[in-house]
Amino acid sequence: MSRVAEDIKEKARRALEKPAPIGPDVDLRRYRDEVGERPPIEDLSKLPEPQRQRMTKAGIDVTERQRAGSLIVMDHSVVHRRQNIQDLEILDIRQALQSYPDIRDFWWKAVPVDADKFTATAELDLDTGYFIRARAGARSIFPLQACLFIGQDGLAQKVHNLIIAEEGSELHIITGCAVDLNVRTALHVGITEIYVKKGATVTFTMIHNWGENVEVRPRTSIVVEEGGTFISNYVLMEPVQTIQTYPTAYLVGKGAVARFNSVIVGLPGSHIDVGSRVVLQAPETRAEVISRSISAGGRIIARGHLLGEAPRVKAHLECRGLMLRDDGAISAIPELGTRFADVDMSHEAAVGRIAQEEIEYLMARGISKDDAVAIIVRGFLNVKIEGLPAELQADLDRVIQTADLSGL
């Protein structure tokens, strides 16, 4: 093992007991690390109906018709991989690390390996993950899709994903996460490092479809170079026990742009702590963070942090929360900071219940009260995302608009 690799391992070992600075702690020993290999699946549409449904709900197109490529992880195995475009690579991260040793230069460079026990355990006990690379100038209107699926009760799944968009490329990715119906408890730890090179664009859409007793700790960082654009869309509308994540984008090149949109529904019993942070490190970079949370009994902490570390940056943060019942909770925690005078940074935050006036406006048009509430809730969650291809927006709209809101 190389010196560098040995250093990384050593750092990880020292961080293995280090709790995350925020979010409920997790006892890693509660979850199983060993599980059998899953056999390959050639045709996703042949998956058993419940699994197919769970994946579809997480944005995965099992027909693969509208996808530039796919990679499906079940438990600890990559069970399916398809790559339709030569310059848009998608493969098993373990295989990628062997075939392309130089991608080690990006490994644990955006996310520190010793950030907390979750990054540490992902290094010391890596199960799998995906590698996606768009070669310089490559593009496709259809997204690549990756699915992280847990099918065994009590399992820990630790993945590390690496995404590289070379100069001038355009890359769209959907990551769908789901557990099988029989999975009561599980732990998912996901490290994702994304590198957006000069003038490249990456849209990263993540849809979470976990279960009531699943604990989730994604650790994501993005590095955006000059003139690059990164757009993240995050959707969580299904139950989860606890999730804590705070993806951070570093805008390191002049004119780089980051946008984060999140749509979160907190159901009873769910503890959700989701934030987005953008560090604007180069002049004339721009950022926008939009978060919409609905508590239908769950506890939601919606964080946002913009840090202006260079002159002439522009950034806006918007956190809106809607309380549908009296037994949940929403905290919107926006944070801004800079040392420069010529920046334009702002935030707005609002939490409250649906305005009676809006419900009655719809009722006066002949719409029943329940339907009026559902229409307003969907409208609240309906975020139009600038820069997202129409196909992807349609996928996202479908997930949001067809979600079952009857229990709210």
Binding site: E358, A364, R365, G379, N382
Partner: protein, 252 residues
């Protein structure tokens, strides 16, 4: 005698424990359009909102009949389904709900309506894909309310100052659309089944349709009723003070 569509009997309405309407009696027969005048704060919007059934307007006495049915305690959507429609004076913004969807919802299911065509006439084509009332100008809000009412096609059309904030060019358009809503452009008198209750300060609407009756609301009471043009003329000349006196005279 024409069949009454709306019948209001001794209506007392309180808002936040303060009585605003002190006993209103009003009958609007089928096919008739009535104009409601009155100074600011006299209770005109309160009356319309109460007929629509909006919360916050508590009926403490009296009742409202629509087509013979007591609707005093029905929720707004049941009133809307019976055929009551109102253009709001200050409607809220519905974020994430496109005007197109709102119009479709207002039309109810089953009806096939020409949303594009109606929107074009009201110069709202581009607004169809915007969120309802989000950043709409005052005049655009008025037109959007009319568009929704067109789709809803109510039997009782209630308009709250449809002309306020509308420029001269659009006022003509609005006048025509309202006349159509009220079927005032239908030639055969016997086909007119739609009734109207229109709040106006300017009386502009009288240039576009023949209104049957006018009423003046002062201090929560209907002070006088009669020919809407004469009433408007009176208010223009003498202000609202006269109306109160006028009622006293009528009583003698």
């Amino acid at each position: 005698m024409k069949k009454p569509l709306l019948e209001i009997q001794d209506l007392h309405v309180s808002v936040e424990d303060k009585e605003i309407l002190h006993g209103i009696d009003l009958v609007i027969p089928e096919g008739e359009t009535h104009i409601l005048f009155g100074p600011n704060g006299s209770g005109k919007t309160t009356l319309l909102n109460t007929i629509m059934g909006l919360s916050g307007y508590r009926v403490t006495q009296g009742r409202i009949l629509f087509d013979g049915q007591d609707i005093t305690h029905l929720p707004p959507y049941e009133r809307a389904r019976l055929g009551i429609g109102m253009a709001f004076q200050r409607p809220p913004t519905l974020h994430g709900v496109r005007l197109r969807d709102m119009v479709r919802l207002a039309a109810g299911n089953g009806d096939t309506i020409d949303i594009e065509g109606m929107a074009r006439r009201l110069n709202l084509t581009e607004h169809l894909d915007r969120d309802v009332n989000a950043g709409f100008s005052g005049g655009e809000i008025k037109r959007s309310e009319l568009l929704q009412l067109r789709a809803q096609s109510p039997r009782l059309v209630m308009l709250d100052e449809p002309e306020s904030g509308v420029d001269l060019e659009n006022i003509q358009l609005i006048g025509q659309i309202i006349a159509e809503l009220l079927q005032k452009t239908t030639h055969h008198h016997y086909e007119r089944r739609v009734s109207g209750l229109i709040i106006t300060h300017t009386g502009f609407i009288l240039d576009y349709l023949e209104a049957d009756r006018g009423h003046v609301l002062c201090n929560g009471l209907l002070q006088c009723s009669g020919n809407p043009r004469e009433i408007l003329q009176n208010i223009r000349q003498h202000g609202y003070e006269e109306c109160v006196t006028c009622r006293v005279l009528q009583r003698i």
